[in-house]
């Protein structure tokens, strides 16, 4: 039995989100969805957390902050990216200050698609990240996260070119 899987403590960072995902994420903690029944605790402190939950696209100003929050978490740790903004930049992708998905700044373990994803999908994403957390705890290598087919891919972005699995392209 792996204790890492039994008590994932989550810290939530809002990069550049419209708050849609944030509100849905907070809904996971309400009595209706009750994330605590899986031992999931929403802590406000990266030093206590095992899992970083990020909402929103990353921009020039907050990429540093996001990296710092990530670096403050003790190993083993995983990152769950909620919503399309965290994958590609979403509707903000064309913004002059927007860098794109958060995987350009920190390694991501699970992408949860949706705009916003439903709370059930978010809890699913966290539970999916647990197996990767457990593997990291055993010192195993885990590959990059699978980025599912997403609504929009910035065409002029050379960094994003060829990053996705070609089979997943629309």
């Amino acid at each position: 039995m792996d204790s890492l899987v039994k008590s994932p403590w989550v810290v939530h960072y809002n990069c550049n989100s419209c708050n849609g995902c944030d509100i849905e994420f907070l809904a996971c903690l309400t009595p209706l969805y009750d994330a605590e029944r899986f031992g999931i605790l929403h802590v406000g402190n990266p030093k206590h957390a095992d899992m970083l939950v990020v909402t929103g696209a990353v921009n020039h100003r907050n990429s540093r902050v996001l990296r710092r929050v990530y670096e403050q978490m003790p190993e083993p740790k995983v990152v769950v990216a909620l919503g399309v903004c965290t994958a590609t930049g979403g509707i903000f992708a064309e913004g002059y200050n927007v860098l794109g998905g958060i995987d350009r700044v920190i390694p991501v373990d699970v992408f949860v698609p949706g705009c916003p994803p439903r709370p059930e999908a978010m809890i699913d994403g966290i539970v999916a990240a647990l197996s990767r957390l457990s593997a990291k705890g055993r010192g195993q290598e885990v590959g990059p996260a699978k980025k599912d087919r997403i609504t929009y891919q910035r065409p002029s972005d050379p960094a994003a070119e060829g990053k996705d699995d070609a089979a997943h392209r629309p």
Binding site: K6, V43, G44, K47, P74, E75, P76
Partner: protein, 283 residues
């Protein structure tokens, strides 16, 4: 030192964290039911500590880690002193040193939130220590001895002579176990807020040590409640269980107070209750 003493000391060191963790798990379950949730399994505190133990130790400075160990060590000393039937004032001092070690640990880093938490912890100590000291004085006056071992051989329960002190201790226990309305230094609910300050800079195994100390504290509070009717141990355990349920209920129905109003309340109502009780005993 006889074999029996060694067994008693070992039991005093091993049983309390297990019982305390189980009580804390029950607390989380009951709290969840109050809020209409299913809640985590009763074993959740064990999983949490086991997980924290496996995390990477992040050390800001070595002094801080020393204070975490002292925090636990003094709490273990409290247990040993109690089970050996030593002086209750000594127990009280060791218990205070345990809290002071945590405060010093939180103060030893330059994080403003950690220091704010430490200051709030000091305010908590300021609020409950007079009540605890007067409780010990009351017990000692009634027993004609400061030894913890003499509580076991009383003809009648302590609760008969110290009912108001028990009420005051109940309020102090709310602070001791970080329950609302007095959870100003660290809380089990408001993880994102300022009130998590004192544990802010501790992570991984060091946070696990603080959690284990909290299990000891939970057991200590319940044991003191049981001491009020220890002439019949079954009734004493029932009293502790009822007191614990009362703590959980109060935790769930009250909002958090400011540090200042916490000190004001503690220095008026519970302190007056203890003083009236002692005066009434020796009128």
């Amino acid at each position: 030192m006889t074999t029996e003493t060694i067994i008693r000391v070992l039991a005093a060191l091993l049983a309390p964290p297990l019982i305390g963790a189980l009580c804390f798990g029950l607390d989380r379950k009951i709290t969840a039911r109050f809020q209409g949730r299913i809640g985590p399994p009763v074993w959740q505190p064990f999983y949490d500590v086991a997980k924290l133990w496996r995390k990477e130790p992040m050390v800001l400075n070595r002094v801080k880690t020393l204070y975490v160990y002292l925090h636990l060590a003094f709490m273990m000393m409290v247990m040993v002193l109690l089970v050996l039937g030593e002086d209750m004032l000594m127990v009280l001092f060791a218990h205070a040193f345990s809290s002071i070690a945590l405060i010093l640990g939180a103060m030893s880093v330059r994080s403003p939130y950690s220091r704010l938490g430490a200051m709030r912890k000091i305010m908590q100590m300021l609020a409950y220590e007079p009540v605890l000291v007067l409780m010990v004085v009351g017990i000692a006056l009634d027993n004609a001895s400061f030894s913890a071992s003499d509580i076991w051989v009383r003809p009648q329960p302590l609760l008969y002579s110290l009912p108001l002190v028990f009420l005051a201790f109940f309020v102090a226990a709310l602070i001791k176990l970080d329950k609302s309305p007095f959870d100003v230094a660290t809380s089990h609910h408001a993880h994102q807020e300022l009130v998590k300050g004192v544990t802010l800079e501790f992570s991984g195994p060091y946070l696990a040590l603080i959690e284990i100390t909290h299990f000891y504290e939970t057991f200590l509070v319940l044991a003191v409640m049981a001491f009020f009717w220890i002439t019949e141990p079954a009734v004493g355990v029932g009293l502790a269980a009822a007191g614990f349920l009362g703590l959980i209920v109060v935790d769930n129905i009250s909002a958090r107070l400011t540090t200042r109003s916490m000190v004001k309340i503690m220095w008026t109502v519970p302190l007056m209750l203890t003083i009236i009780n002692i005066l009434w005993l020796y009128r």
